[in-house]
Subunit: 354 residues, 2 copies
Amino acid sequence: MEFNFTEHQHVRYNPLKGEWILVSPHRLKRPWSGQVEAAHEDEIPPFDPKNPLCPGVNRPNGETNPDYVSTFVFDNDFPAMLPDVPEADAATNQTNEELFKFEPAMGTCRVMCFHPRSDLTIPLMSIEEIKAIIHEWIKQGTELGVKYDWVQIFENKGAIMGCSNPHPHCQIWASSFMPNEPRIKDSYQREYYETHGRPLLLDYVNAEMKKQERIVVQNSHWLVVVPWWATWPFETLLVPLRHVIRMCDLTSEEIHSLAEIMKRLTIKYDNLFRTSFPYSMGWHGAPTGRKALVDNQHWQLHAMYYPPLLRSSTVKKFMVGYEMLGQAQRDLTAEQAAQKLFSQPDVHYKAEQD
Amino acid sequence: MEFNFTEHQHVRYNPLKGEWILVSPHRLKRPWSGQVEAAHEDEIPPFDPKNPLCPGVNRPNGETNPDYVSTFVFDNDFPAMLPDVPEADAATNQTNEELFKFEPAMGTCRVMCFHPRSDLTIPLMSIEEIKAIIHEWIKQGTELGVKYDWVQIFENKGAIMGCSNPHPHCQIWASSFMPNEPRIKDSYQREYYETHGRPLLLDYVNAEMKKQERIVVQNSHWLVVVPWWATWPFETLLVPLRHVIRMCDLTSEEIHSLAEIMKRLTIKYDNLFRTSFPYSMGWHGAPTGRKALVDNQHWQLHAMYYPPLLRSSTVKKFMVGYEMLGQAQRDLTAEQAAQKLFSQPDVHYKAEQD
Ligand SMILES: O=P(O)(O)O[C@H]1O[C@H](CO)[C@@H](O)[C@H](O)[C@H]1O
Ligand SMILES: O=P(O)(O)O[C@H]1O[C@H](CO)[C@@H](O)[C@H](O)[C@H]1O
């Protein structure tokens, strides 16, 4: 018998993080008898006077939202980070032993509504509406990036991803420290750049375009692949074809093209299980603040989509015991996932029904 | 204002993994309006002829379980790893480029039933019954450790943790490779040992016994703390007080004492939200197979409990957007969590009701 990626277990390497993933394609045959998620296809009204993210509504802290018509950004009412925290005094610092290390952390957490209507998700928006989101991301990143070393833009979509509000929105958490994930990716990208003189992710994008094995969507400025090292069943990586280190460096054609590819990708996601596809997604690019002062040419801007669903709109992949204590494990291969997504129609299943 | 660990956000360092955790105690005031989990307090019958983990029952693959009276171990019917996989041939190996690296992986996956009765969990078992589990863990670890470099024992408990069968059981996945988590911990423990001449976790245990700030339970041979760097709200670390590198090195007193502390810990867990507390737990100790041939004195055996619940039996902590793309974040501090667990009664709430 010959070794075959779609039949035989193996481990794959993630060069961005120095981690391995266990791929067990033969396990696809496993029956499922575990927990199923509620099918959340409730009709969401375009406007709900009780929803604190809607235009003109009172938020729990007493503030009233403006009658916004595009995006709308405000400070999180229950932020995980505040801009001002007292300095640790000498006595507290004494406890800063090797096995009990801590650091003060400063930050700002914002909520960004994508659109005034609660019932519109990105795949259902117009290109112009998606462009407004990207422009706001750039504005926020630039503004917060003056003060903070890292600005994390992320979207938790769907109740299954802990999202407590169906109104289309994302969050922006800016911090005085560089969080683990980008810190690790910074060092692997730097090492690759020092060895090869080219950004890791740009070499990767070019290799994927040649191989044509994991491509989901592609246009004149962007590529979406299920990366070789994908962890989540239908994880994707969205990367510009040109060397771009931060979102603020995108040209207006690239922004237009990004809006277009985000729409196409999320339509495919929704069509896969005929559901508003849950995921966490977000952006990584070169760090900001004090960290912008060093050379960051090893960075390549990219977005990641981490969707939890595995088999249907109600059966997700559980990252539990082995994954928490050992390492990530997946059943279908990245190539199989890419093929399934690639072959989805470019028209949204809801538009079809109209 | 003075800096205060229970009021002001900060980041804490995990010396076992070189990672940081964001602690935001002020965020405890956040109201919850997101997804709640089903309360799974269904009566589980002691025996169910349809449950493939019960004694004497036919499994889907046609085999019949023996009428076991203590623990029972069998090969997983849908294993993520198989012992034999064809070698990658030259042509396949050519694709082993720097950005598309892979390795063959061999392994064995077993299921281990803890007890013949489906309705008994560890906190409800006798010390002798728990000792039988520990003895079986040792036997399995020793047997599989001859051939495999890593033997991962883990338990996914509760539907919320992807556990598809309520019968008390764990899994054992042995692999020809060392998974990410233990690989990283191996290198941090080794580095500490080389610098200090003592195992990291033994120094940590001794420091925690002096500080008395994060202790949940303790007996003559074991300590349970919510570690300084805990990620999950009620995460705990279970460590022997003596330097022990693998489970097979435990004395019979230490095994007895371990059974006793596992029972006390899981009773406290169940009492916290008056529910059969879900978690993933598992063991890490010195590697085995070929990896047993090198010096492993830097290792200290330990178990980790990773429970998902945050506020009640139905509200869990979501490790999503920021956690996936940035770094782990928690609301209540490790000290607050330890205090809550410590103050739980040592009698199970179900025993109380009798
Ligand atoms: O083996 P099980 O219980 O069917 O499966 C469960 O545990 C495994 C090991 O953590 C995970 O890979 C699966 O996602 C989870 O559903
Ligand atoms: O900020 P939210 O939407 O209330 O909260 C959600 O996203 C956060 C950032 O990923 C997580 O820390 C929370 O666990 C999750 O429930």
